[in-house]
Amino acid sequence: MELKELYQEIILDHGKNPRNKGKCDKFNKDAKAYNPLCGDKVHIYLKLNKEKKVENLSFEGEGCAISLASASILTDIIKGKDFITAKKITNEFLNMIKDKTSVSNDILNEDQKTTIMSLSGVKKFPMRVKCATMVWHTFISALEGKNINE
């Protein structure tokens, strides 16, 4: 049953209790996005340190279970990763949603893979794809964007 694939327990858990919500300490980059169709909003805050590591990462947002879970999972998994790895994981995620069936990134442990893959259920719900992907695009905008203090 497809609904069960969409609303897996991991998703519901992250959706109900999103990790890393709020403005994180000393963020130096941010980006936001809005889905005019449904009203979903997301705002990413991140601290990229001198070693180009995502030292801190959080989000504020409103939205459906999928979008909140996706934001929660993203922040959870990316936090602590360096710039290049963070981009790699994001690409893996977006590719998975687009056409592949799983993530192959060897930077992730099995647990993280399972978590990320739990979002692949949206593939069967085209109108919901953006719910899952918007925060990842927003994260990249923030990551590649200007430093706030510059």
Binding site: L3, L12, C38, I66
Partner: protein, 405 residues
């Protein structure tokens, strides 16, 4: 009234959605089409097609007649004074843009006020916003009360001697509130302020009588009235059409064209530029006949019964919150469920073949006011039944189960 018989005229219901029968509750968005409308369009293309009003050959004559007959039908259906008061547009949105743009250009100046309401659909706000920007005008929003209505006193309070036009919805596409248009028009008349009514939700669900309403402009969309996409209608009092400038320019809307000077004919020609939505307009004649065959009063009565039954059941569910509680309510139910986002509700309901809409329904101002980004909305049509309401309620129970895990 035999709803099963009526429903059997809509081919869409022969299809299964995710293996389930379709329970279509997205009528405020767009309604389904009876076979006679679909067939009329096919027949027109197969037997009668030609561009209208331009050629003198037999096909063109037939097509033009069919097209103009629809104008007569609409005139009669909404009780306009003359056929010249009926203008075919692309959709209701274009009809409102036409008025905002032409009226705004001619009559709205810096500091003038446009009075709309917090209930308005974006289509009855953004066109005025453009005039606000172009002319330096001011938009005032009449507040909607806790019941999701706009009261006549609120309008009274906001009218000043700078108010140049009032734009107001007939029936809210979120709270379902039916607004006191006649009273507002009567009030506006004493101050010589024209009133534009956004009739998108009024037209499919209420009896339309322009003489009784008395409004200056009434805009609605055929696709919400069991009719084809691609056609909207602007009713406008002749005195305005005579005064206002043309809107779009092009073939078919001119009188005489020279290199330095162009003259324009009267309405409706002046406002119908380019090749029109011939097949769609002709198809719409069958929608009107369909509605007339059932009788709009019967439609109202049936929808009200089903809605009240549904409302009652939904209210029993403690997690469900209904948006608005107007005294006079059309068959539109917007709601939220505690802890479940409307988008998730819509997806889960869809799995059971229940089609509702989730989002802000093009009413962000109202949603901001209510304090939510989105709501779920079930909106009825003539083919909906109490059984459909049971399906809806059961599907909502299922949502809760999934999320309570």
């Amino acid at each position: 009234m035999d709803i099963n018989f009526i429903k059997s005229q809509f081919p869409i219901f022969k299809n299964k959605i995710n293996g389930k029968p379709l329970i279509y509750l997205d009528n405020a968005n767009s309604s389904q089409k009876p076979l006679r409308v679909i067939d009329r369009i096919s027949k027109f293309y197969s037997k009668e097609f030609s561009n209208v009003g331009r050629s003198v050959h037999s096909l063109a004559v037939t097509a033009t007649n069919r097209f103009e007959e629809t104008r007569d039908l609409v005139k009669k259906y909404i009780n306009a004074k003359s056929r010249e008061e009926i203008i075919f547009t692309k959709n209701a949105t274009e009809a409102i843009n036409l008025v905002a743009s032409t009226y705004g250009e001619r009559f709205i100046n810096k500091g003038d006020e446009i009075l709309i309401t917090e209930l308005e659909h974006h289509s009855n706000y953004i066109p005025w916003h453009f005039i606000r920007e172009k002319k330096g005008a001011v938009i005032k929003f009449a507040k909607c009360n806790d019941r999701g209505e706009v009261e006549i006193d609120e309008i009274k309070k906001l009218i000043t001697n700078k108010t140049k036009i009032i734009g107001i919805t007939h029936l809210s596409n979120v709270t379902g509130a039916i607004l006191p248009i006649k009273k507002i028009v009567d009030l506006a008349k004493t101050k010589n302020i024209p009133v534009l009514v956004d009739g998108c939700q009024g037209a499919p669900h209420l009896k339309l009588d322009m003489q009784e309403l008395g409004c200056d402009f009434y805009a609605f969309s055929c696709h919400k009235m069991y009719g084809p996409t691609g056609v909207g209608i602007l009713y406008a009092k002749k005195k305005w059409l005579d005064k206002l400038p043309p809107y779009q320019g092009g073939g078919g809307m001119i009188e005489e064209v020279n290199k330095d000077k162009i003259t324009f004919p009267g309405s409706p020609t002046k406002y119908e530029a380019g090749t029109l939505q011939t097949a769609e307009v002709v198809g719409f004649s069958e929608s009107i006949r369909f509605i007339e065959d059932i009788g709009i009063k019967n439609i109202m009565k049936h929808e009200k019964e089903v809605m009240e039954y549904g409302l009652e059941n939904l209210k029993k569910n403690n997690s469900v919150k209904i948006i608005g509680n107007p005294k006079e309510k059309g068959s539109i139910i917007a709601f939220t469920i505690k802890g479940i986002h409307p988008h998730d509700i819509a997806t889960i309901l869809d799995e059971d073949g229940v089609a509702i809409r989730a989002g802000h329904h093009c009413c962000q101002i109202l949603h901001d006011k209510v304090g939510v980004a989105a709501t779920a909305r079930a909106s009825l049509g003539i083919y909906n039944t109490k059984e459909d309401m049971d399906f809806l309620c059961n599907a909502i129970e299922k949502c809760k189960k999934i999320f309570e895990k």
